[in-house]
């Protein structure tokens, strides 16, 4: 719905403007929905970190990714990566790594053969070494095997490793966890985080799964019907009440925290929300491994946040944060969403309209948030109830 403007100018950035009119939409792999719309999008993405593209099925996310990769015939494609205009180049010259939903490993080659195929054709020598990607994706034990001897999760790990070995300037991932069973997803997400930490290239990650996105992404692009709906930093987007994202049942916000210290007596760890940490902006979670100073991302579902006007002194809920209400939105007849700022981050609470009126909540009011569930995105998706 418009061009998002980044705050400040980054040296490395990805600018794209794509126009693609199609009769059929590719939504990953085989299935083609015959939604008859055109894709028209302009956006600017950060030149590092993970940008997620989110939207309902058939909205054109995969098509967008394919246009970026050069796999689709487009009317118009302007693609500028850190100053290089690559939009008019054929796919094989764009130096973009692509991880497909169905991995597309070469069946006639072993895992190592697949890796070598990419490594032999790498775009530069600045990329990771073979040993590095093998370590990052933990595929050392699989090298001799053929693709048909691997599980879904293993195949995707190999596919990611293979794409990385071409030393791309950007890694594109099209719903890589779609064909992977839930057990195997976590390890792969961990591996991707490792890759993101170690590699200095941006990643564009298409998914319709909010959990994956909240765990990985730094930046979010929301699409619908071939158009850009909104884009911006992940944390901001997840707390935007005007977006569909926050209207979902499983709506949640993501907070960046740091480990402050551990409480071995009660097996807890203290996380702090802001840089200027006062005692008040701290969260307690189950004992984590990690050093003070380590970044930890947490996810707080809106339904698990309640509001009090005074700080409750005798409550079993450990996590009580003070904040100021910045926005209120009525969801339906019975419920309302309250957006509160805490230590420069935002937390959403979903409460009943009755309570809202009863407490006379309005923007600017100082309130206390009682947080029942803190999900630790860096460890497991399983949430922690502390209360």
């Amino acid at each position: 719905m418009g061009v998002a403007v980044m705050n400040g100018t980054l040296e490395k950035s990805i600018q794209l403007a794509i126009k693609h009119s199609l009769g059929e939409v590719t939504s990953g792999g085989e299935a083609k929905s015959s939604a008859n719309f055109s894709l028209s999008l302009k956006a600017q993405l950060p030149g590092k970190g993970i940008t997620a593209i989110y939207g309902p099925s058939g909205c054109g996310k995969t098509t967008l990714l394919r246009c970026i990769a050069g796999l689709e015939e487009v009317e118009h494609c302007q693609l500028n990566m850190s100053g290089d205009e690559i939009g008019s180049l054929p796919a094989k010259q764009r130096q973009l790594g692509y991880v497909f939903q169905e991995n597309r490993l070469f069946p006639h080659l072993s895992v190592e053969g697949n890796l070598d195929f990419a490594y032999k054709r790498r775009f530069s020598d600045n990329g990771p070494s073979k040993q590095q990607v093998i370590d990052w994706l933990d595929i050392d034990a699989l090298l001799e095997r053929k693709p048909d001897q691997l599980s879904g999760g293993q195949k995707q790990r190999v596919a990611i490793a293979r794409a990385l070995l071409t030393a791309p300037r950007c890694l594109l991932l099209d719903e890589p966890l779609a064909g992977v069973d839930s057990q195997a997803r976590n390890p792969i997400l961990r591996h991707l985080e490792t890759v993101a930490e170690n590699l200095n290239i941006p990643m564009v990650y298409v998914s319709h799964n909010l959990d994956e996105i909240t765990r990985l992404a730094d930046h979010l692009i929301i699409m619908d019907q071939g158009r850009l709906v909104a884009d911006g930093p992940l944390l901001d987007m997840l707390s935007r009440l005007d977006l569909d994202v926050t209207r979902q049942e499983s709506a949640a916000v993501v907070l960046n925290t740091q480990i402050m210290g551990h409480d071995d007596r009660y097996s807890l760890t203290q996380l702090s929300l802001g840089l200027q940490s006062g005692d008040d902006a701290q969260l307690s979670v189950g004992r984590l491994s990690g050093e003070p100073g380590n970044a930890v991302r947490v996810r707080i579902p809106c339904r698990d946040v309640s509001i009090a006007l005074e700080r409750p002194s005798l409550s079993s809920i450990l996590n009580i944060l003070p904040g100021v209400i910045t926005e209120i939105e009525l969801i339906d007849g019975a419920r309302a969403m309250i957006k509160t700022e805490v230590a420069r981050q935002f937390i959403l609470a979903r409460i009943t309209r009755k309570s809202m009126e009863h407490l006379q909540l309005e923007t600017g009011k100082q309130v206390y948030l009682q947080i029942k569930t803190v999900a630790l995105l860096s460890e497991t998706i399983a949430s922690e109830n502390l209360g």
């Binding site: 796919a91 094989k92 692509y98 597309r104 006639h108």
Partner: protein, 226 residues
């Protein structure tokens, strides 16, 4: 020419013809079969029908039209002699032209089937890794359609080995040049020289059989050990 020498000459000539024809056909048919496997244009069925013609046309029909086409009065014949200084009829080159047409569907069709079963999505993956068209063809398509290529090559080779009608019309029966095995055999029989005929026929039968046993044995062995 004594018995053995003349038969060996015919055998050698036939092998050469089959080898040259098969090689040319593989090179020509691969892109053609690829296009046929992937094309959505209506023109494709016209091309398919044209390719399939030699399957049902009597070889003598092909030979008949070729003889006319090779004539120095006509385009192909005069063009060829302008280019090379030789005629096409009654030469090995002429036989190659005839054999290529005659065996075309036997090479194109297995390749087309193989390509149709090929997972085209793999090509996109290779493209993102920087592989160009020839690269993808040599390193992806050929290894994964090996069976189709083998079948096409074998069929093309075998079919050309057995060619008779076309060569009968355009060959001129010149020993060492156009007297292929089937013609030599025919010649011996017509001249009532049954001893020569037996040597030739029996020898070819044994040779073909041995070749096929090797091939099928090899395929089976590979399949079992997979």
């Amino acid at each position: 020419m004594n018995l053995l020498a003349s038969n060996i000459a015919a055998l050698w000539l036939t092998l050469q013809l089959a080898a040259v024809t098969t090689t040319i056909l593989l090179i020509v048919s691969a892109p053609l079969a690829w296009w046929l496997a992937r094309s959505e244009s209506r023109f494709a069925s016209v091309v398919e029908a044209t390719v399939a013609l030699p399957l049902i046309l009597p070889p003598t029909v092909i030979g008949f039209y070729l003889l006319i086409a090779f004539s120095p009065d006509n385009f192909l014949g005069s063009g060829w002699s302008a280019l090379t200084g030789h005629s096409l009829a009654f030469t090995f080159s002429g036989l190659v032209v005839g054999s290529v047409i005659y065996s075309l569907p036997f090479v194109v069709q297995p390749l087309q089937t193989g390509f149709q079963h090929f997972d085209h999505k793999l090509l996109e993956a290779a493209e993102t890794m920087g592989a160009g068209t020839l690269d993808r063809f040599l390193n992806l398509i050929i290894p994964l359609t090996r069976r189709a290529f083998a079948t096409a090559a074998l069929l093309g080779f075998a079919h050309t080995m057995g060619e008779f009608g076309v060569v009968l019309m355009i060959g001129g029966n010149i020993p060492g040049e156009t007297q292929v095995l089937s013609i030599a055999l025919y010649d011996h029989v017509e001249a009532l020289d049954y001893q020569r005929a037996h040597w030739l026929a029996g020898g070819l039968l044994a040779f073909s059989f041995a070749l096929l046993i090797l091939l099928y044995g090899f395929n089976r062995h590979k399949a079992m050990n997979k």
